[in-house]
Subunit: 499 residues, 2 copies
């Protein structure tokens, strides 16, 4: 699908990463039946994730692993192998790489650790395997990677068995551990992924390669990166900057403070000096830089589900006054403005609310149980040219509170009909679902985002897709998250407009 | 239990709030069988919450409500009534208050809305009922309150049926809606509550009264407040300042920005001018001021479960390097320092870890599966006088990932013994529980906090109590939350030390 050539003198080799991320067949060298070993975790995850291609466990001591025939050696496999995972000890890796090359394997995910992250001998061994793979033209990810996830190929190949759904967010993480947790959060929050790469030690392939691949990957619309140090710093900035014009690139640079840089130095190699240059480069290129991992996920949910706001003017619709106040404060802190609402809109909304309603932005629905007004208020604001985005607080999320009330009433009131209570709960559930559909339709109609805040922690996740629709509902638990995401989306829009 | 006299000229009356918060009997005037009405929600919550005293529904049109005999009028009740909840329309309230006074009711929770929050007529009606209750010496909370929760009296009397457990955190909220959601979060996170008061319009009793009560309430050790405007501003600051020396007072002032103040003005009355004076007062009195509601809960969990750190020197123990880097960055941003660890501690820890471990702070356990070292590392740091607090990342929380692996393996590997997999899961669960016990013991032994970060969202909640122990385990989902809480606890310690 895509080919690319490096301008970099040190490695002007072209690698086709297609077989790494969308293989037809995979081998797991070091596959195991022993619970908790890497060769067991990765193999069982690949099978459990429903990979449709062929799967070949390689282990000279076993006949069958996870119900699949095991092979002594990769060269015993009587079929082509696109991608090999290696989990055997570091000392065995050079020889295995040679046999993979002999077999015609097109890419390697080198999970094995014990290379440059350990000591001088490890560093030498790493240089050695890079030489082998350059010579044999077999690109590898890692070493010391936690694996990859390619949902569009149903390939879930990490040690952690979390399986986010298909989506538009690509995630490259230099820290495997951190990457694993964020993938877990993505699954929990319903954020769809196009690709996850644990880049490990970046010995052969590195972040630049992945960004170049992602530029043309049709599934990827947003890129999130966790990096501590970068090889080819200038090239990285150039590539990321160019990519950011088409697809938002959101970066967390671990080690952006003195204490963090010192920690990173012991983790992946001293690169702290680069932080200020890097940050300046990000700013210039309009690349969004965040401080903590949770922001990477929050922004993923927003960018992948909502239209980008075309300005910083926000309308707030809230079920309760206090939350409107808190959200206004947060908007103020983050550079979002709350315009006064014109009389004709006030008049329209007034027909639904008691006379003492706020009559201003935030629109305080004073705890109304009117079923129409929450959506009417949102639409009236979206329709108005004076507003670029709406924050909707407390409608979706109320279900959780209704459920508590139903549960409790069922228990204490013998006279209450069970069928009636079922109906109440069902009604609340349907109302939330219909509200989400309406919101999604309105976003498509007006091409402006509506950012939801649930205020409860629901099991439904942050992202609430509606089948067949361009956008999805997004409901963060707290207003500060919604405001932070919106402010960063506004910043990205500012950058795009300026180029 | 406590009596108090006001110095304030406008209301130098003494109210005993004991019967409001710990009544022996309650009446619900406006009690109803109609699902979703205030009189139904509050009554069924009181019954469902297990209130041990007598409960009298008052409704002239019903004979039995929720299985309880209903009375025409409060004066028909043939027993003493300590506390009355009123949910009937505003116009009926003056007469009802008079009959409550006739009955000898000792306190009122006036849920009814339609007073000063609406219009001039409402304001007049509010003045009117204040006069009545001052004259008859019946203190009332509200009007326009969402209710109260008094867990030590098993009294859950809000419209929202969430029931946090008994604890040491008292919460006074001027916004009912916001208060309800935070109580829901407290229940979800396992944060124990000593009292919740939705203060509503603060017409008769106000925040000063509640603070005065809480000073002597034996269950309350921490006070969190959401306020927008305050009556008796100077008195409030004096009372809060004095209280903060004994029990930490944590305040969120809604409307601390221009936009927020404008929103608050339309919500509860114009008071924006006070914000800067208020904030200066908080600073001077060492009162912790937070920006968003979630911080109120985060700090509640920390202050109620952990010893206060006696300095800003932090040791980090992490299962993965990336999280250690991110946590170091956050510490740096929030004024916490990461001292270098002395050689003897490095040497001790080295006996458990591979030779390439970080050998510095953060202590990176490089994904070890050794069962002893996570707790050994924490204890070595706590024992050292160069450290005031420890942050432990990724041990508690790993269970969620083990569960995914077990579930997945069970499904894909026919050769794997089900009993063995059960044992693995059981073992992980027990290991986490034992780790929490060890952490809690260590906190008691060294009187230094260990702040946990789970990195997963578990169903177990943030606070993990250990029966019979002074402290509880606290496991936030993200490092930024742990660092923020720790930095604010350090600030409180700084204030306490200075007085």
């Amino acid at each position: 699908m895509k080919e690319k050539l490096k301008n970099d003198s040190s490695k002007s080799i072209s690698y086709n990463l297609e077989s790494l991320f969308n293989p037809q067949s995979v081998a797991i060298i070091g596959a195991s039946s022993s619970f908790g070993k890497w060769g067991q975790m990765v193999l069982s995850n690949i099978i459990g994730g429903g990979f449709k291609g062929k799967i070949f466990p390689i282990n000279p001591k076993e006949k069958v692993i996870c119900g699949l025939k095991a092979y002594m050696d990769i060269n015993d496999v009587p079929y082509d192998v696109d991608l090999a995972f290696i989990t055997t000890p570091a000392s065995t890796v050079p020889e295995i790489l040679e046999s993979c090359a002999d077999k015609g394997v097109k890419g390697i995910v080198l999970i094995t650790s014990g290379f440059s992250e350990t000591d001088e001998a490890g560093k030498e061994l790493e240089n050695n395997i890079v030489s082998i793979c350059r010579e044999r033209n077999v690109p590898f990810i890692g070493p010391n990677t936690m694996g990859i996830i390619s949902p569009y190929s149903d390939l879930f190949a990490t040690g952690t068995h979390t399986r986010p759904k298909k989506g538009t967010v690509a995630f490259v993480s230099q820290s495997g551990n951190l990457g694993n947790q964020l993938i877990y959060w993505a699954e929990q929050q319903g954020i769809g992924i196009s690709l996850f790469v644990g880049s490990g030690n970046n010995a052969m392939l590195n972040c630049v390669d992945y960004l170049e691949y992602l530029e043309y990957d049709e599934h990827t619309k947003i890129i999130i990166l966790y990096i501590e140090s970068v090889q080819e710093g200038r090239k990285f900035l150039e590539t990321a900057s160019s990519l950011n014009k088409k697809k938002p690139v959101i970066v967390l640079k671990g080690g952006h403070t003195k204490a963090g840089a010192a920690a990173a130095a012991s983790h992946t190699g001293a690169m702290s000096v680069e932080t200020s240059i890097m940050e300046a480069g990000f700013r210039q290129a309009g690349i969004l830089s965040v401080k903590v991992p949770s922001e990477l996920l929050d922004l993923s949910a927003g960018f992948s589900s909502l239209p980008v706001p075309k300005g910083n003017r926000v309308g707030i619709v809230t079920l309760g006054g206090g939350w409107g106040v808190v959200t206004s404060d947060e908007c103020n802190e983050k550079g979002l403005v709350l315009p006064e609402i014109p009389g004709n809109i006030i008049k329209k909304i007034s027909t639904y609310l008691p006379p003492f309603w706020s009559k201003r932005n935030p629109v305080d629905l004073v705890g109304t149980r009117d079923l129409e007004i929450p959506i009417v208020a949102v639409e009236e604001l979206l329709r108005w040219e004076g507003i670029d985005a709406v924050i909707s607080l407390g409608i979706v999320g109320r279900l959780e509170l209704v459920r508590s009330l139903v549960r409790s009433t069922r228990r204490v009131d013998p006279s209450m009909s069970a069928a009636f209570l079922d109906k109440m709960e069902e009604f609340s559930l349907r109302y939330e679902e219909e509200y989400i559909v309406s919101i999604v339709d309105l976003m498509e109609k007006y091409e402006k985002p509506v950012v939801g805040v649930s205020l409860t922690s629901t099991t439904e996740g942050t992202v609430r897709p509606v089948p067949g629709k361009k956008y999805s509902g997004v409901f963060y638990q707290t207003p500060e998250t919604a405001v932070n995401v919106l402010s960063k989306m506004v910043a990205y829009w500012g950058f795009i407009k300026s180029i």
